[in-house]
């Protein structure tokens, strides 16, 4: 069975999604358990695969039994395995947390909602484990389409935000497809490992450079890297809460993973460092992303939108770290990818809990929340500390690596921007906590129109989010600290073996 883990990671959620869809038409009550079983199996398979990869080294899996350049193959090393496990577990926890929110907001559409939810996770897991450039495009489209629908489901401005995301996302995915086409026309292959071999003699060709540029621009569009980030704040800000806490932590991280994969496994680091002369420019774009993300976040009066802009800044950290061109920077980028998925999940889920109780996440809705929802706010504080980079949490260590990478590369702008954006994060979260701690709770009537069934009661009455949301939230908050404590083994065992030797 263990040699089939790579296939099971993707197949179990896919089959589960189909069963959920069927159950949605016949027995809607079965949808959630089926989705839970599917994602649980995927998480188990991903964990098994991670253990296997750590024990025996990279795993190759041939789909359909065809050998790689002709058939599609999975190639799973430490990087894939750890990102796959991360995606599977975060999605599983979020699924548990989403139950109440979906039941209250979309009771009639549980079936299609969970179908798309599980399909989105399937697509992300597939993208992470695949070793075929074109296969990645198909899976990317699955994830994107589900994302558009899950975001567009929200009320108010959500459909427009989703349509904008669709336009930019389609341009991004099409650019990626075009880049793959360029690689195909100069090499005749689609398999990543095969491509890496065939591309070496072609370094210096203009077509290759264009392929690299187009692919990267496409991916940047998908991950909302700075000048191409316009879709993200609205899409994640107006999305329904369970959707936002699924996509915001995972989608951008998976795209960063894909970028790193393309950089180190299809094109080699030698190509990236020597042939591409704009590496410095990319780091400066990352600097701009961090600064702009932080500044835009300052201007927001809504928790979810503020968090969305923080995501924009975080993407800048990872892309910048990956492009610094040294081992420390790359290590920091990968480590930050892991930490950031968990901390973004933590804060977005906390925002979801708040929305579940107050039916809004604007700063006015946060008043007095420390008294009403102490556990949620404690978890939000843990997430905030990780995003700021306070020592026991993982965020501190990944920033530490990034800063050391920046110092080693002599890139003072990157270091400065990183510190600046951390500082702004302090201000941002301090402002949130000030409102939540000191200001008295708002009146009941202000949001009576949205969800009349919630009774606020007295100003100090405890109105905590349901346990099914609180437990995943606590798990995420504890996970942040656990990740911080596990930084040493994480870097030594998982990350260092995959950093290519060519990095200085």
């Amino acid at each position: 069975m263990s040699e089939q883990y790579p296939a099971l990671i993707v197949i179990t959620p896919l089959l589960a999604a189909l069963l959920v869809s069927a159950a949605g038409w016949l027995r809607p009550r079965l949808c959630f358990p089926l989705a839970l079983a599917g994602l649980g199996a995927a998480a188990a398979a991903a964990t098994g695969l991670l253990v296997q990869v750590l024990a025996t080294g990279p795993v190759t899996y041939r789909l359909g039994g065809w050998e790689p350049p002709w058939g599609i193959a999975y190639y799973v090393d430490n990087l894939n395995a750890v990102v796959a496990a991360l995606v599977a577990w975060v999605a599983l926890f979020n699924l548990v947390a989403s139950y109440r929110a979906v039941m209250t907001d979309y009771p009639e559409k549980i079936g299609p909602y969970y179908t798309l939810y599980v399909l989105a996770v399937t697509g992300m897991l597939g993208m992470v484990v695949t070793g075929d450039a074109f296969n990645l495009y198909v899976l990317l489209e699955i994830t994107s389409l589900t994302g558009y629908a899950l975001i567009g489901l929200g009320g108010g401005r959500a459909p427009l935000a989703s349509l904008n995301y669709l336009f930019l996302g389609t341009i991004g995915a099409s650019f990626y497809l075009l880049g793959v086409g360029y690689l195909y026309i100069v090499t005749g292959s689609l398999n990543m490992a095969d491509l890496a071999k065939l591309l070496t003699p072609l370094y210096g060709s203009l077509a290759l450079l264009a392929a690299f540029a187009i692919t990267l621009v496409g991916l940047w569009m998908k991950m909302a890297f700075f000048p191409l980030h316009a879709w993200l704040p609205n899409a994640y800000g107006f999305a329904p809460a369970p959707t936002a806490s699924l996509l915001a932590p995972l989608m951008t991280k998976v795209m960063v993973y894909v970028m790193i994969r393309i950089m180190i496994s299809v094109f080699t680091v030698e190509f990236v460092l020597q042939e591409v002369l704009v590496g410095q420019l990319v780091v400066w774009l990352a600097v701009a992303a961090m600064v702009a993300g932080a500044l835009f976040a300052l201007g927001q009066r809504d928790l979810k939108r503020m968090l969305a802009y923080i995501v924009v800044a975080e993407v800048g950290y990872m892309v910048g770290g990956a492009w610094l061109g040294n081992r420390l920077g790359m290590t920091g980028a990968v480590l930050h990818l892991i930490n950031d998925a968990v901390m973004t999940f933590c804060v977005f889920l906390a925002a979801g809990c708040i929305y579940q109780k107050t039916r809004g996440t604007s700063f006015e809705d946060l008043r007095g929340l420390f008294k009403k929802m102490p556990w949620t706010m404690a978890a939000l504080a843990a997430g905030a500390m990780a995003i700021i980079g306070v020592p026991p949490t993982g965020g501190f260590f990944s920033k530490w690596y990034l800063i050391r990478g920046g110092l080693e590369a002599g890139h003072w702008g990157f270091v400065g921007a990183l510190l600046f954006s951390s500082l702004i994060n302090v201000v941002l979260f301090f402002r949130v906590f000030e409102i939540a701690f000191f200001e008295p709770s708002g009146g009941d009537d202000s949001h009576g129109g949205h969800g009349g069934h919630e009774e606020h009661g007295g100003a100090v009455a405890l109105a905590e989010a349901p346990l099914s949301m609180l437990l995943p939230l606590m798990a995420a908050a504890l996970g942040l600290i656990a990740l911080g404590l596990a930084t040493g083994p994480l870097v030594q065992k998982l990350i260092l073996p995959i950093i290519p030797a060519g990095l200085g």
Partner: protein, 133 residues
């Protein structure tokens, strides 16, 4: 000037795909009407499909269906790769066409949802309404 003429002639398919792609891209960014943007998006995607199909073309090759296949496994040895067009880009593009129609469906569903709320398809009018509210 002389050296550009063969370049123009031997790659004219590629020039047309770039033209179409840029038309589509321009429409997606500059057009104001949402349905027009979606038309632009489809033109953009079809242009990429044209590019891939052009990769597959081969002088002297026929359509990738083996003509005198006597059935199961016999006589396959004499099939020459040069006699048939490269089938791989065709396979990839079947996928891309299906993806584009799927995207179209979702995009139109979103457009209808937007129209339900704003009663217009013009982006500037929608933004105007949002600013007022």
């Amino acid at each position: 000037m002389e050296e550009y003429i063969p370049l123009l002639l031997t790659k004219y398919n590629y020039w047309v795909y770039i033209t179409l792609m840029m038309i589509g891209l321009w429409a997606m960014i500059a057009k104001n009407n949402l349905v027009k943007k979606i038309v632009g998006m489809n033109i953009f995607q079809t242009a990429i499909i044209l590019f891939y199909v052009s990769i597959g073309a081969k002088y002297g090759g026929t359509i990738p269906i083996i003509q005198h296949g006597p059935g199961h496994g016999h006589g396959a040895a004499q099939i020459k790769a040069l006699a048939y067009i490269n089938p791989l880009p065709h396979v990839l593009m079947l996928t891309a066409i299906v993806v584009s129609v799927a995207t179209l469906g979702v995009a139109l569903a979103l457009v209808i949802k937007i129209h339900r709320r704003h009663r217009t398809l013009e982006e500037d009018e929608i933004l105007e309404q949002l600013r007022e509210s």
